[in-house]
Symmetry: C2
Subunit: 466 residues, 2 copies
Amino acid sequence: MNKKEVKKLREELTAVMGNGSIETDPDILETYSRDETADAVFMPDILVRAENSEEVSTVLRICNEMGVPVVPRGAGSGVTGGALPVHGGLVLSLEKMNRILEIDTENMVAVVEPGVITGELQKAVLQEGLLYPPDPASLDICSIGGNVAENAGGPRAVKYGTTKEYILGLEFVTPDGTIMNTGGKIVKDVTGYNLAGIIIGSEGTLAVVTKIYLKLIPAPSVTKDLLVPFDSVDDAINAVYRILTARITPATLEFMEEDGIKLVAKFHGGKIPFPEAGAHLLIQINGESEESVYHSLERIWEVIDVDPEKIFAAESEMQRERLWKARRAIREAIHEEDPCFLAEDCVVPRSRIPDFIRDLKEYFNSVNLKSIMFGHAGDGNVHIDILKGDREYKQWKGMQPDIKKEVYTRAIQYGGTITGEHGVGMLRKDYLTIKLSQEEIELMKRIKDAFDPKGILNPGKIFSDE
Amino acid sequence: MNKKEVKKLREELTAVMGNGSIETDPDILETYSRDETADAVFMPDILVRAENSEEVSTVLRICNEMGVPVVPRGAGSGVTGGALPVHGGLVLSLEKMNRILEIDTENMVAVVEPGVITGELQKAVLQEGLLYPPDPASLDICSIGGNVAENAGGPRAVKYGTTKEYILGLEFVTPDGTIMNTGGKIVKDVTGYNLAGIIIGSEGTLAVVTKIYLKLIPAPSVTKDLLVPFDSVDDAINAVYRILTARITPATLEFMEEDGIKLVAKFHGGKIPFPEAGAHLLIQINGESEESVYHSLERIWEVIDVDPEKIFAAESEMQRERLWKARRAIREAIHEEDPCFLAEDCVVPRSRIPDFIRDLKEYFNSVNLKSIMFGHAGDGNVHIDILKGDREYKQWKGMQPDIKKEVYTRAIQYGGTITGEHGVGMLRKDYLTIKLSQEEIELMKRIKDAFDPKGILNPGKIFSDE
């Protein structure tokens, strides 16, 4: 946008909603030019920090009329550039819409605005003895609205599923400024199409979510966490296989391989449990009673072949923190080691994880790449972080398309897909055809048109620009 | 369609797929002119019983070219006319696509064709120690494809959710004959829009589902069923409230009120437990161990105020059958009593059930209508069957629009919706505006256009015709 266009937009917005939420100061805009995506900066032309649904509606209506791109933004913790204004325009931040509107303990439903930080919500509902299960690793900084946009998962997805399984209803605003509703404090609803079904995971390209009805469940009264060291990834994944085929359902089953453990140990000055292991498995068991949890733990001993003396079991909250420290710090550790790393999050059927990882490692070794793999062994979602190493930046950028193709092709070959919870965003849009047929993509684009005929909402994401 | 059009369509289809699956014999077509919807008959012009995805594709492609309506049909157990050819055309039966293609015990996924009977699938996976939770009351006759089309629930939805929570992937055919895929044997996927999210519950108006990937869970090893009599519906719902706010999650929490109990008792010659009660509550508790199940049962005793001597607890499979007999037979009993009954299935937040039922009963009494209410107290889905009584048929038909409006308006007033699992179909399409705004309906129609630009797929359903 040129200066005149920005001025005009600012005037139009101000006339309806006043000036308080609107910013054009470059210093402030600069903060909104980045998210957690490595190596990506796009300056917005204008910023609105909306305070309510009406302001969201006003912004969308006016921008739609003027043909200005609108990029919704939650907490800016995304890693595929979903919140970045790659074609300029207006960034619509929902950070001020961060109120927990209601925790309805009778119906076990929370009604929240999109800017609520996921971890804050979890703490608030826990005080009522309730659990909001989805727990992306970024839960202390990410917002519920962003979780809806990416259908976020997290370690507990193996037992509890992803965000979409907890969305009972949405208030959302379509690009023409209309405020709409779907669902509510109800568990069942087939009154017309399930609009939430297509909006969840649409990465802010179909509508801006302004209110969310979340299903809560009774919080388990007993939780035990274990860190189990193995000699190799194969041994760890084999244990996962045995646990799941014994029909035990832990709340989490996270793995981390040797290279990741070493990196985190270095990051924490060596102070993590089992820094020398070939792989870690982080297992959380929860349940209604000590008996049922110990029953599950005993069955785990039976099926995995590890000396119980070598297991680190957290008995206190402090120990639990220590135990999860390595897992939660891994991305930060990688970032410190190599800020230009490539972060992939492919999914395969969980029985295929060992073959997938082995195959990937062979490929990475063959092209002399260092990689760190970790993630959700229980649900097949593997985080694959690939390091630049000593390469020149330009060479590294040039290699990335090939690396992505090799990784994605393998994920699909093993029956999986390109991304499990990070989204396509701006980073993967040119690779969509590896997974989807041209007809499938065309159908998705027609759905996009049904919501956003002028294409103002988060342009340059998911679909290739061509 | 006139005879010439039917002949031409038959020839076009035969040229591609042979004659074996195509029928135009009126005696056979007659069977496909009805489903379980009271009082509705619409003759198809032609029938195809497809045997595979390619035949589904051929039928859709040719009908799309010729502008012939296509009505997909599963087992024909729907109660809102979803499978009826209200504008004539071709009925596309999926009954022959009834193979369980795979039960993948490692990944706990079943891959099935849409014609598989839900109860058959449940038995098959149970032999592998696995559970497919959704359990519509019609599970012995309904098909999985129909469950996907209506997002079927069932008694266990209070603990396990509805069909959509178990769909990991779909193969489906769009009206132009393109075979597409979404998801698979994977738990997480944000590679483009979640097409399954909008197809589930779309009542066969967007695409024809030809293969379904279903998430399975470990079957609970212990299950206890209780039938608890109460003096009144208020007492029963109050007990539901106490159970749920004590954070106990039974697998089912079904209620039936006095009028329903009396009717089923009559149907079964009096041989049901507690035929004189004012209300029944049917509670199923399941879990991993006897201890955990008994722990939950003890907590239920603590919170509900009923003499344990008066409770019927099923200890054997035979007793369990006896206990569920009344619940499963209710619709049949009503059908025998009054075949022209009106069947509604509204949803309200479960805390509002007592007020909703009381309000409805007052209304029904005020206009001298006999009603039977039962259903899923745990998830707020109330089945409301309203009897014609001694009225003349014509008078009864004339009253229905008013009755529906009164019922739906109350459901929405209590924060609920028109239909929880039966769908809109042909019966409720003129009432959609009670729940949805014109803009919401227009958005849904644009989504319909994105899938089905020529409007051939199941016309006359969900949306009002004009």
